[in-house]
Subunit: 150 residues, 2 copies
Amino acid sequence: MRAAPTPNEMLQLDKQLCFAVYSTSLAMTRLYKPLLEKLGLTYPQYLVMLALWEEDGPTVSALGERLSLDSGTLTPLLKRLEASGLVARLRDVADERRVHITLTAEGRKLKAKAANVPACLLAASECSIDELVQLTRQLQTLRDRVKAAA
Amino acid sequence: MRAAPTPNEMLQLDKQLCFAVYSTSLAMTRLYKPLLEKLGLTYPQYLVMLALWEEDGPTVSALGERLSLDSGTLTPLLKRLEASGLVARLRDVADERRVHITLTAEGRKLKAKAANVPACLLAASECSIDELVQLTRQLQTLRDRVKAAA
DNA sequence: GGCAATTACATTGCACACAATTTAATTGCA
DNA sequence: TGCAATTAAATTGTGTGCAATGTAATTGCC
């Protein structure tokens, strides 16, 4: 039977898990940076576009709910996407407080150009699709539990 | 036999894996925020302190190598830790270009106060330690491969 | 109908992250 | 030895991330 971990061992593990998630996220951002630059997107902007390609026209808060980002982050990001001509920000006619984010023709066209981006991560990971699906599921579970605890 | 994924399916998976890593990292930051606030630390500062508690006195670039962060990120962060009285920034006598980061007495004392932080993540995750160790290893492998490919 | 409470988004201020540039110290080589 | 090339940090500028606050529209309750 294994002894209970000491506080020191816990800090070690914590360092490893926290840091593993943190540094993987930064490493993926760096991997994608040169690819996304060609599309004129940053990594968070790419995540927003992925969400919009799946479902067009959400309000700012619906998008924030999905990405768990607040208006302080999204408002300036969306203004930059608007300035790039990829999305439009339209006030809801029925409720003028709401702002709907809709893809422009150019924004929709970008989806085709982005189609080859994921292959890069797949290749870099040296994993099968099934392994990546598996890892994704584990992370989603961890994230949802962490969110529930916060 | 499963058909090869379409570009659309690839974008779906990409969205899910990228987003899973990204959102888990943000969720962990948010979980720790109230705990770390009591210690007077931000999440990246906590990761730096974890590194220093393991090995005191590295140069800025050695620390950057370990955390894969550059001086543009570390310099201001370390100045804030210095301003909080947790670390000292000392020029190397032999090579004045180098700056060593060393813990102050207060910085070393903080380790004891941080000892209870990891338990929070362990509880939130609803996982066994072995499961977390397993997930950590997978992430480290993915991160190292992504870093090698970048 | 009138008005306080709520809601949706925008703004401000602070702390990363990182590319690009600058500054200062050291190295290496003719 | 002298000086170009290299190295280590620091600085600058842009883009998130988020708490706290502000503003305008809507709702709910009397």
